[in-house]
């Protein structure tokens, strides 16, 4: 079963995304509420995929992606964020995310994105 790390400061997103993933046969191996914790948990769990928010305290998602990718270039990361303007999308893709998704999400959006990546 593919293992997924969720990095987002919203408890609601953790709750809804976990339900979506588990309903579709994925395992949520860990939850982080900021980018720094996300990097630490990535190193600990080495998930198959990461869902990463952008706006978070301590360390934002773009910085977290860059940090993870610098050490683990094979890491697969989907950015899931409320902000979807051209500038931020470019920053995210340049940092190395595989797919950029704008909230809100539904099962179809999440599963389609995962299928493109793993």
């Amino acid at each position: 079963m593919k293992r997924i790390l969720i990095v987002d400061d919203s408890p609601m997103i953790h709750n809804l995304l976990r339900k979506t993933l588990e309903r579709n046969g994925y395992e949520v191996c860990a939850d982080a509420t900021n980018g720094r914790e996300g990097v630490e948990l990535f190193e600990k769990h080495r998930p198959d995929l990461v869902f990463m928010d952008i706006t978070m305290p301590v360390m934002d998602g773009i910085e977290a992606v860059k940090t993870i990718k610098a050490k683990y270039p094979e890491a697969k990361i989907i950015m899931l964020t409320a902000m979807g303007d051209d500038e931020i999308m470019t920053q995210a893709l340049e940092a190395g995310v595989e797919v950029f998704l704008k909230k809100p999400f539904d099962d179809y959006k999440i599963i389609s994105a995962i299928a493109k990546v793993i």
Binding site: S10, M12, T55, P104
Partner: protein, 159 residues
């Protein structure tokens, strides 16, 4: 206030509430000039954002509407409004609405607006006072209760 700054937040609110909860906004008022004081319905979320201009979006729900929103979002039968997760839903919804509107404004006008973390307060008949910034209030109605938006900006778009 420039309607180009206001309309995206109204449209995003209607669309995101519908998309995330299935609740339709049945009436929406014209924007009215803000007075600097807002009498809260009961469940109020505020999010600030900044770029080349600064602004904030306040969304205030009647408690019965907030309960329905959370029920539909989380599939919770009897959400408790003082529960942190439940209030977090209201904050996240504001985050998504503001993010959606800001995305449009950023792509259209290059404002570079970035969101700060949202805050939620609960309490009926609270009076929320803000500093003297240009703001408008919009009243909305659904079958489950009413809400109001207060959109404020410091600075404007080029004419």
């Amino acid at each position: 206030m420039d309607s180009r700054l206001v309309t995206p937040y109204i449209e995003s609110t209607v669309q995101i509430i519908r998309q995330m909860t299935g609740i339709e906004v049945t009436e929406i008022s014209e924007p009215m000039p803000g007075s600097g004081e807002i009498s809260a319905y009961g469940v109020t979320s505020v999010i600030a954002f900044a770029g080349t201009i600064k602004g904030r979006l306040l969304i205030d729900f009647q408690p019965e509407l907030a309960v329905h929103i959370i029920k539909n979002l989380m599939r919770e039968e009897n959400p408790v409004l003082r529960d942190r997760l439940m209030l977090g839903c209201i904050a996240e919804m504001n985050n998504i609405i503001a993010g959606d509107a800001n995305t449009l404004l950023n792509n259209e006008y290059g404002l570079g607006l970035r969101l700060a973390p949202p805050m939620v307060v609960t309490g009926k008949n609270m009076m929320l006072a803000s500093s003297k910034v240009d703001s408008v209030t919009v009243l909305g109605r659904t079958d489950y209760g009413d809400f109001k938006l207060n959109i404020a900006f410091q600075g404007g778009l080029p004419s």
